[in-house]
Structure formats: structure tokens, C-alpha cells
Symmetry: C2
Subunit: 331 residues, 2 copies
């Protein structure tokens, strides 16, 4: 079996380009005692990956030059030297951007078959769904009748946030790029409104969409978007700082002009990463799975074919070109 | 009895100047039924007053042109048409920048005599002390062994914050302007270190003073100071946004460059105003009074003489020229 893997060739300055990656071919690795050889079926592409392609301090250590690009996959066990795993079983892995990889059993999570498409465990039933669930509920703490704004609203996290806000009895207002995404957010996902930031009047349009101000901002974008939302935040409102994608490719960080709103409105702002709730994933999975089963949670995927397309997929994702959860189908 | 009162003559653009105020003389007012005539003894000058001299939205309605400047005073009852008050009693008032004023009994708080100097009820036993107490404990939540940074460390709020942090078993690091203030903060107030922001190497010096990073930032200043502290914040640290004095006189708000640290370090940031804890003032008064009595809480006042000096006092305060709690002695 031949493996193909994308390694980091260089740290990007500003926007990521395909030159920052190198495709390496080699024989698939052999599992050692206690290890499992996995054939990856789906690779998840996520904005946090940009942060790993950097020498800057972040949550966790970044990818080093020559290392395989980090990422979650859904795969199938090919060969197992861990008695707990058998060939054919489906698993969630952290094997990254490659076709085959070996991992210790403890690093893999078995996935149930038949309940939901396997790829969903990289999206609405995976890290993005958990992020939406814990960020909104634990930090955002939405109350019935409040207004919840979420940026990157058609994306893997944002789409779940808005639908959970609706289920909680809130007014859900999205921010997305372009009419097609905004239409989808309102008509398919059931948000009350969605503002197209590309239309050039973000603050004015957002104000019109939030006649009672904003009580919860689930922030995925940062930059000018956050500045606009901060001007509309209500007293005692909450900001979930989940992502700042507008900053990730900037050579100079965006300079925020409206920090004072945090003081004046006694806003609670909190940065989050979903790992902080890892002992409660079961609770989120149950809730999200239930909403999926009853049709209250809708979900969309954007699929690229073949490992070769992974760099292009990440670059598009960082530019907001994806429409729904970005995946690469590997097999 | 002749009254003198400072009214707002114009809204300042940028820095406040004496021309923004007008001194009005008139006969002292007569109390109506249910009212109390108070002779003010001490006027408190506080940074929040700059926010009231603005048409910009803030916590509460601002002062309008021609209205008396807002402010807390300690005064003595001269004449009472409320049976609950008798001449000679000392009261905490919101009568503002004037020598005499009438208020309803319900708007006054009687002060005990003999326990502490009356002026302390405008400082370490008043709004600034309460602000320090609730902001640090409720939002900052300092734990033994953690590092607490406080800007404007020699001021009315900052000095109490650092001393309470020491009492809680923390490393207390101040930020203040000039060697004299920094020496005072360390040698008199007992902080572990104090960084002179005027020395021109705020980030470097603060880093040296916080070898284990920063767990709690009690932010009174904002701007470049906040940007420097944000670069040193630890994972799961807290920022109490109490004041942004560096912004109050800016015609353009300072643009914050390090917001990303909130995400990466999962920082909790919360804006505060002390009124939000008004039903718990008694608890704070008891704690602060106890620390004063045992000598663990030290306190310094900066006193100007005469109502005429009030505008100059506020202007100096906004520039950081005061050294300790800024008061005007009115009688």
C-alpha cells in the first residue's frame, strides 16, 4: 500500500499558498505492537490549522517543517496490533493529512456505524459541533428571547450555533459572505436573519437585523466583524471568542477599535477551545445527535476529492470559499 | 449662605480643559418637604467623570450643558425637612461639584463618625474601595500564588487592588507613572514590584516583574498598557475591565493589537461597574474596614483646597498627576 502525505514545507507569511506544502509518497507504515494501521476515508479541514502553520505561540505546539500536517480524520482499521481494534472498524483519528497512518489504540475513538454518515463525526457530531455546543451554552448562556449573532454562519461551527440558538428560543442572526450563503442560512437553517458582510454595510445591516441589540456574539471571525458587533452589544451581554479567522492570515493583527464597549456594557468575553470540555463530549454528542435525528439540526458539507486537493481546500476555507463543513474525501 | 457650583460649559474634544467648566454663584438652595440641605466637606474626583462629559453612550446619562458636574461628596446636614436626618450628621451624597445642595433623604447615606476619617468614604471605604473589592474578587478570582497586575497602581482603586491581592497570597505587580509612585507602591503599599510605564520599556519591564506570567489583570488604563499585559497573560487568566483612562481623552479610540491572546489563552474578560454589586456594599465595607483597622490596608490622599480647584484637579487626575486618591477639600 502506498501512502501519500502532505508535510509542511515552509511557514506562510500572510496567506497560505500551495508552496507551503509538500506531498510525500512512501510505503504505508507498519503497525508496531499496540498500534493500529488506519486507512483514512475523510480528512477534516478547519481554520485552526492555520495557527499550527506558525512559529507563534498558540494553544498547542505547531507543525514543524517536514512534519505531516495535523488534522482529524475518519478512517477504517486495516491491521491491528491492539486487541481492542479489529480490521474494518471505523475510527476517529488525529493522523493528519495522509492516506494511511499508525496510531496507538488509546489515540483512536471508535465510531458507531449506521447512526449518521461517518463524515458527520468530523463536523456537526465532531469537534465543530462540540465547539458550537459548549461555546454557546457554557459561555454564551443564551436565554429565551435574546439575540444571538454568529459570524461564519454557514460554516461547520456557525451553522450549529445558530440552530442551537433557535432551539433555545433566541433570535438567531448570522453573518456570512454572499447572497447564496445568507439565503441558505435563513431559508435552510432557519436563522431569523443573515447579514452579508460582502455587501459593504455590515454595521448598518447588522443593526437592522438586531433591533433589540445583541446579547450573545459567537465570534468566529474577529477584525471588522467583531468591531461592528461590539457596537451593538447590550449591557451584560456575552462574547464567545471561538475563532478570529480574519486575523490568521494577516501579517499585522487587526487593531480593535471598540474594546471600550466591553467596559461600558459590562460584557463578558471569553476565549475558548473545545478540548477544555473533553470530559463532556458524550453529553454534546447525545444532544446534537438527537437534534439531527428529529430534523431540527441541518448540516451541509463541502467535499473535495482526493488527498491532492487538501492544500487548495484549506486555502479556500481560509478565504471563506467553502460552503458548509469542508472535507476531503480520501477513499 | 452663598453656593458655588461648577457646571458643564461645553463638551471637551480630547483633553478636558478649564474652559469646559463654568463656576456659578447663587444663594444656597432651600430644602423642600422631605429634603435635606447639605454643606459639602469633601468632593471626590474620579476618572469616570470624563465619561459623563460626553454625548457618547455610557453606563448612565451624561451631564448636560449647564448642569452641575456630577460627583460624590461627604457633607454635613445643615437643615433637614426629613425626620430621619438631623443637623450635624455626616452623609455621603451625590450632590456633585458644589458647596451646598439639597437632596431627598433616600438619596443620602449616613456615615459613622470616629471609625475612619470621613474622606475615606470617598476612597478606600467608598466607591473606589468597593470597585477594587468586587472587581478583584468576583471577576479576577485570584488564587494563592497567582500573579495579579494592576495599572494605575498608586491610585484610589489600584492601591486597594494590589493590597487585597497580597492579602489573598498573590504576587502583586503594579504599573504606575514615575519613580516616586513606583517606590510608594512597593515600599509603602507592599506590592512585590511596580513597573514605571514612563520609563519606556513597559513590556520588557513587566515581563521581568512577572516571571510566571499574569493570572489576573485589573485594568484601569487600557491602550498600550493593556496591549503589553495581554502579551503576558497565562492560559485561563482573567481581565477585570474597570477603566480605560488612556482612552477617555483620545479623539480616536486606541486600537488594540493583541485581542488574539484572549482566544489563544482562553482568557475571561469582563467589564464592570461597582453599582452592579450595590446590595453587597456592606460586606465590602466590613472587609476593607477590617484591613484598615489592622494596618494591612494603607491609603494615601491627594488633597486640593477649595471648590475653585476642582476642574484643575480632574484634569490632573486624567493626566495621572495625582498621587493617591484625588479629593477637593471644600470646608
Amino acid at each position: 500500500m502506498k501512502n501519500k502525505a502532505w508535510t509542511l514545507a515552509s511557514f506562510p507569511t500572510g496567506w497560505v499558498s500551495e508552496e507551503n506544502f509538500r506531498l510525500v509518497e512512501a510505503a504505508a507504515p507498519q503497525p508496531k505492537e499496540g498500534e493500529v494501521l488506519v486507512k483514512n476515508l475523510w480528512l477534516s479541514l478547519d481554520p485552526y490549522m492555520r495557527g499550527r502553520m506558525s512559529e507563534q505561540k498558540s494553544y498547542v505546539k505547531g507543525v514543524e517543517i517536514g512534519e505531516i500536517m495535523t488534522g482529524q480524520t475518519v478512517g477504517e482499521v486495516v491491521e491491528s496490533k491492539d486487541p481492542a481494534f479489529r480490521p474494518g472498524e471505523k475510527v476517529l483519528t488525529g493522523l493528519g493529512w495522509q492516506l494511511y497512518g499508525c496510531a496507538k489504540g488509546a489515540e483512536l475513538n471508535k465510531l458507531p456505524e449506521g447512526r449518521a454518515p461517518l463524515s458527520y463525526y468530523l463536523g456537526c457530531l465532531g469537534m465543530p459541533g462540540m465547539t458550537a455546543y459548549f461555546g454557546l451554552n457554557e459561555i454564551g448562556q443564551p436565554k429565551k428571547g435574546e439575540t444571538v449573532v454568529v459570524s461564519a454562519a454557514s460554516g461547520a461551527v456557525g451553522s450549529v450555533v445558530g440552530q442551537l440558538a433557535k432551539i433555545a428560543g433566541c433570535r438567531a442572526v448570522g453573518i456570512a459572505g454572499g447572497k447564496a450563503k445568507c439565503d441558505y442560512v435563513v431559508k435552510e437553517l432557519g436563522f431569523d436573519a443573515c447579514v452579508d458582510y460582502k455587501a459593504g454595510n455590515l454595521y448598518r445591516d447588522l443593526k437592522a437585523a438586531c433591533p433589540k441589540g445583541v446579547d450573545v456574539d459567537f465570534e468566529n471571525v474577529g477584525g471588522e466583524t467583531l468591531d461592528a458587533v461590539l457596537r451593538l452589544m447590550n449591557p451584560f451581554s456575552r462574547i464567545v471568542v471561538c475563532g478570529l479567522i480574519s486575523d490568521y492570515n494577516a501579517t499585522e493583527p487587526y487593531a480593535l477599535k471598540t474594546f471600550r464597549s466591553i467596559l461600558v456594557n459590562r460584557i463578558k468575553v471569553q476565549g475558548m477551545i473545545v478540548f477544555d470540555w473533553k470530559d463532556r463530549y458524550g453529553e454534546a454528542l447525545k444532544a446534537l445527535g438527537g437534534h439531527l435525528a428529529t430534523g431540527r439540526l441541518k448540516y451541509r458539507e463541502s467535499v473535495l476529492e482526493g488527498i491532492e486537493s487538501a492544500p487548495r481546500g484549506l486555502i479556500g476555507l481560509l478565504k471563506g470559499e467553502n460552503f458548509g463543513k469542508q472535507l476531503v474525501k480520501l477513499a
